[in-house]
């Protein structure tokens, strides 16, 4: 008998064959009969009034079928905050905002027609910085904010301001904490907006059908969320909206929520129901579709002489850009993690999601945590240095311990995980030793080591759920239907392992169905937040259990045995005390037929579901409550070499460790970390939007915006896991998809201090920034020495 053990194993990816042969279809690859191609005309201004739109020449171009303007569209939509228009109406709020869209017989014709559209603008003052946006008398990006619908009781926009959401966390008495502290430090940090850069740009094909129905095939992360927002926006029943998702070429959060789908649908409606395809150009991916929000951080920290945190007052100013429909939740979620994985008795966080006239922000792998941890983890190293204790010690003295509470009042338990062990493992892996930074700024190529800890919980509504259907086929193989999307992260492969193990069948006979379709697949909330393996895994376990129950019920009648005496192993249902008394799954999966032809049972279809357990609404004034179904803790340690003559930083060695609860799939966890770490190094070393003084994006292409290539790989990387079982996780697992990216910049920033004795506060750490910072530090040192 084969024992089917796959959890923690290394079986082949479900999608690997289709992807190496080119057989995997993405929206980019699909076409429908009669399909039109659409292009959009974007705003050249960060803020302007639309005076006049003349589409006559575009309409006259042969092959043009529809020219659509914002004036014709009344809808306002968004995930948590309905602050987006399908096309700009009356005003434009960022350079890159879609203003006019054209559907034509070919993409070339549509592009030419866009050129022929004449738009007259009256430029308006733009707010391009969060602090300017908060200043008295600042121009308002959304003057009608007070009228916008949003998720009530969770998000708190401030009327007649640029504040889309104000998240407060209040614990203890922060001012008293500062009085009690031996030392108080104040530091500030900054992150730029960063693009997700999925290799596949956003793409959609929409078809408007009669009787207010629509069929939308899209490159999106969350089919049911797209359906839900489409149904609400166009005020149609959910059954009228069919959303399908084939293979998706990367998401990283950028394809969560809703993007080009409503526009494609409206164009199709205007085109009499002809399908309309929109594929974002790479430039549009950069400056029309959303990015990660920028962040300005201010931290005031009270500590004892021994480095124990007494009080933390944090101000997080999120540069949401022109829309915050998703960004409001980043400001909320990151605030709940806003003091790091540490015990902070007195904490006061103000997290403000602020509108500006820039391309808007959305979820990006880690949901605000890379940004927040940049400040939190750099800040700790700065304080440790001031106190004369090591960066490792200050963390170890402050890590949450069982019985202590998080800043939202959640009690940390033994089963939450081991941030301390993660840090220990990575420190050992790179040979991290406490040492004093150089007294004078060194020259040439200099080595340094740095560490950083991290934590993150999935951010989700309290009622977040997932469901799963497992169909057993005639040959006793299984098909798993589940609606989280595997856009590369490998979750389906992990779920296949769970399903095979639970059903006790070969993993090769389990297929997780890739093509998502809201008409045929069971509900799932969203594929975000590193919650799919956790919630989907639990739903799969429940569905597999339901399958086995059904198999046992039919077999019990045939074998004349109590259901409870039947065990399912290796595709066979046996009577426990008499193993020879058995049926194969195959004899039962479609119902059992007796010799005389009588049949019982029927096709086995298992159903499973899971809903977030124990979450509470957060108190609006204090942020206290249970915000997290689980926390994943981790750490990175890095050794760098910085060239003081060029400012170039090379990653010599980077080690990463996460308390995964349980590693569901060895190879996929390892490669997920490899990829996430390199993406984190992109945010560390090269990536970030640059705008000119008028708010125009200066680097919307691969020529000017560099993501890591194979040449940018660290010389050495290692991945480590701690397994402290999550009590309610599938086989003890918790999410790790986003975490590899978080705190990578912090570790590198800390290593730079170790190498140079210079504190870096702003990302990215480009050669230019590093070189100029060294140069300024040298000039300062020189001046001081002359005094």
């Amino acid at each position: 008998m084969t024992v089917h053990r796959y959890v923690g194993g290394n079986h082949v990816r479900q999608d690997a064959f289709d992807k190496v042969t080119g057989e995997a279809d993405y929206v980019h690859d699909l076409a429908l009969p009669g399909m039109l191609h659409a292009r959009i005309k974007i705003s050249p201004h960060a803020s302007a009034r639309i005076v006049k739109v003349d589409v006559s020449q575009a309409l006259a171009l042969p092959g043009v079928r529809v020219v659509l303007t914002g004036e014709e569209l009344d809808h306002q939509l968004g995930l948590y905050m309905a602050d987006k228009r399908i096309l700009a109406r009356g005003v434009v709020r960022y350079q890159g905002e879609p203003v006019v869209a054209v559907a034509a017989e070919s993409e070339a014709i549509a592009a030419e027609a866009c050129e022929l559209v004449q738009v007259e603008y009256e430029p308006l003052p733009a707010v391009l910085d969060v602090e300017a946006a908060l200043a008295e008398g600042a121009a308002l990006v959304h003057p009608d904010l007070h009228t916008y619908s949003h998720m009530k009781g969770v998000f708190f926009p401030v009327p007649h301001s640029n504040i889309a959401h104000h998240q407060k966390i209040r614990k203890g008495d922060v001012e008293r904490g500062f009085v009690e502290a031996d030392f108080v430090f104040e530091n500030s940090f900054q992150n730029p907006p960063v693009q997700h850069v999925p290799l596949e740009t956003h793409a959609v094909i929409a078809r408007a059908l009669t009787r207010d129905r629509m069929d939308v095939t899209t490159s999106a992360q969350s089919p049911f969320t797209v359906r839900n927002i489409l149904a609400h926006t166009f005020k149609v029943p959910h059954n009228n909206v069919r959303v399908r998702i084939p293979h998706v070429g990367g998401g990283f959060g950028g394809k969560a929520g809703i993007h080009l789908e409503p526009l494609a649908y409206m164009l199709s409606r205007r085109a009499g129901g002809r399908p309309v395809k929109i594929v974002a150009t790479r430039e549009e991916e950069f400056n029309t579709l959303p990015s990660r929000q920028g962040l300005k951080t201010r931290l005031k920290t009270g500590v004892t002489r021994e480095g124990k945190l007494v009080a933390v007052k944090a101000q997080y100013l999120w540069d949401a850009g022109a829309h915050a429909d998703y960004g409001v939740n980043i400001g909320r979620a990151a605030a709940t993690a806003g003091a790091g994985p540490y015990s902070v008795p007195n904490c006061h966080v103000d997290s403000l999601v602020v509108y500006t006239n820039k391309v808007f922000g959305t979820a990006f792998r880690g949901f605000g945590h890379l940004e927040v941890m940049w400040g939190v983890e750099r800040n700790l190293d700065i304080i440790a240095h001031q106190l004369g204790i090591s960066p490792r010690e200050i963390r170890e003295r402050n890590f949450l311990r069982p019985g202590e509470s998080t800043i939202t009042g959640e009690i940390f338990t033994e089963s939450h995980g081991r941030p301390d062990l993660c840090l220990q493992k990575v420190a050992e892996a790179v040979g991290y030793e406490p040492k004093s930074p150089p007294a004078t700024i060194p020259t040439g190529k200099v080595r340094g080591r740095g560490i950083a800890s991290l934590h993150k919980a999935p951010a989700m509504p309290v009622f977040t759920s997932c469901s799963c259907i497992i169909k057993l086929n005639e040959d006793a193989s299984a098909q798993v239907l589940i609606s989280g999307v595997d856009y590369g992260q490998g979750t389906y492969t992990a779920l296949a392992g769970i399903a095979a193990q639970e059903l006790s069948i070969p993993v090769e006979t389990v297929q997780v169905v890739f093509d998502q379709d809201t008409a045929t697949q069971p509900y799932d909330w969203q594929t975000v937040a590193s919650r799919f393996a956790f919630m989907g895994g639990n739903a799969v376990i429940a569905a597999a259990g339901d399958c086995l129950d059904q198999l046992r019920q039919t077999a019990a009648q045939v074998l004349h045995a109590p259901v409870d005496d039947l065990i399912c192993e290796d595709g066979t249902i046996r009577v426990r005390q008499n193993p020879d008394q058995a049926l194969t799954y195959q004899q039962v999966v479609q119902g059992y037929t007796y010799e005389n032809g009588n049949s019982i049972g029927g096709p086995v279809i298992g159903r499973g579901r899971y809903i977030a357990q124990g979450l509470t609404h957060l108190d609006p004034q204090t942020g206290q409550g249970k915000a997290a179904i689980n926390w994943t803790y981790g750490a990175h340690a890095v050794e760098i070499e910085v060239d003081t003559d060029t400012g170039e930083v090379e990653i010599v060695n980077i080690a990463s460790c996460f308390d995964a609860g349980r590693v569901l799939h060895e190879g996929l966890c390892r490669t997920q970390v490899e990829g996430g770490v390199l993406q984190g190094l992109g945010s560390t070393l090269t990536e970030g939007f640059r705008f000119d003084e008028l708010g125009r994006l200066l680097n919307p292409s691969f020529v000017d915006y560099k993501i890591p290539t194979a040449k940018d790989m660290p010389r050495k990387m290692s991945q480590h896991f701690v397994e402290t079982p999550q009590l309610d996780g599938p086989h003890g697992a918790r999410g790790i998809g986003e975490h590899p990216m978080i705190a990578v910049p912090s570790a590198v920033g800390n290593a730079l201090f170790d190498a140079l004795g210079i504190q870096f506060h702003e990302l990215p750490l480009t050669p230019e920034r590093v070189y100029l910072t060294i140069k300024r530090a040298r000039a300062r040192a020189h001046r001081n020495s002359e005094r």
């Binding site: 690997a16 980019h28 990387m717």
Partner: protein, 165 residues
């Protein structure tokens, strides 16, 4: 033949093809729209990401940067031609085994760049592998598994650098 179309003749994955193509049509569009070979992808359209890499007379080329008419007389290979008789090529198999695939959008181009390398240099060093795929952007894997996969089909072992997988 219309005024802006030119007749070309080429070989695609071993099979001859002859026909007229618009002068302005890129090789990538020709493959995807005329030949229904959608393995090669468009990630940027300006020759920066490598997702559209195919082999032209054995050399890796960004097919978004070449016109179809320029391929007249050439022998083209795309990812669709790599598996023979339903059997994956050794390199494809290695990508599967090493989990060198995540979202998969860069994979066809990555495979073709690596295949071209292995055909001109069966035992590349890690630096040579990295050089060969440096023009193929991947946002998911961090490249380590890809390099491990390519290395695994090389007959000889060189000193290794970078990655651990």
């Amino acid at each position: 033949m219309s005024a802006n179309e030119i007749k070309i003749k080429l070989t695609i994955n071993g099979a001859p093809w002859e026909g007229e193509v618009p002068v302005e049509m890129t090789l990538l569009r020709f493959l995807r729209e005329r030949l229904a070979l959608s393995g090669a992808k468009e990630g940027c359209g300006i020759g920066e990401c490598g997702a559209c890499t195919i082999l032209v007379d054995g050399r890796p080329v960004n097919s978004c940067m070449m016109l179809a008419v320029e391929a007249d007389g050439a022998s083209l290979r795309t990812v669709e031609g790599e598996a023979q008789g339903g059997e994956l090529s050794p390199l494809q198999r290695a990508f599967v085994e090493h989990h060198a695939v995540q979202c998969g959008f860069c994979t066809p181009g990555m495979l073709m760049s690596a295949q071209a390398l292995l055909e001109r240099n069966p035992s590349p060093t890690d630096d040579e592998i990295i050089e060969a795929i440096a023009g193929n952007l991947c946002r998911c894997t961090g490249y380590a598994a890809i390099i491990a996969a390519i290395r695994s089909v090389c007959p000889t072992d060189h000193p290794r650098a970078g990655g651990d997988a």
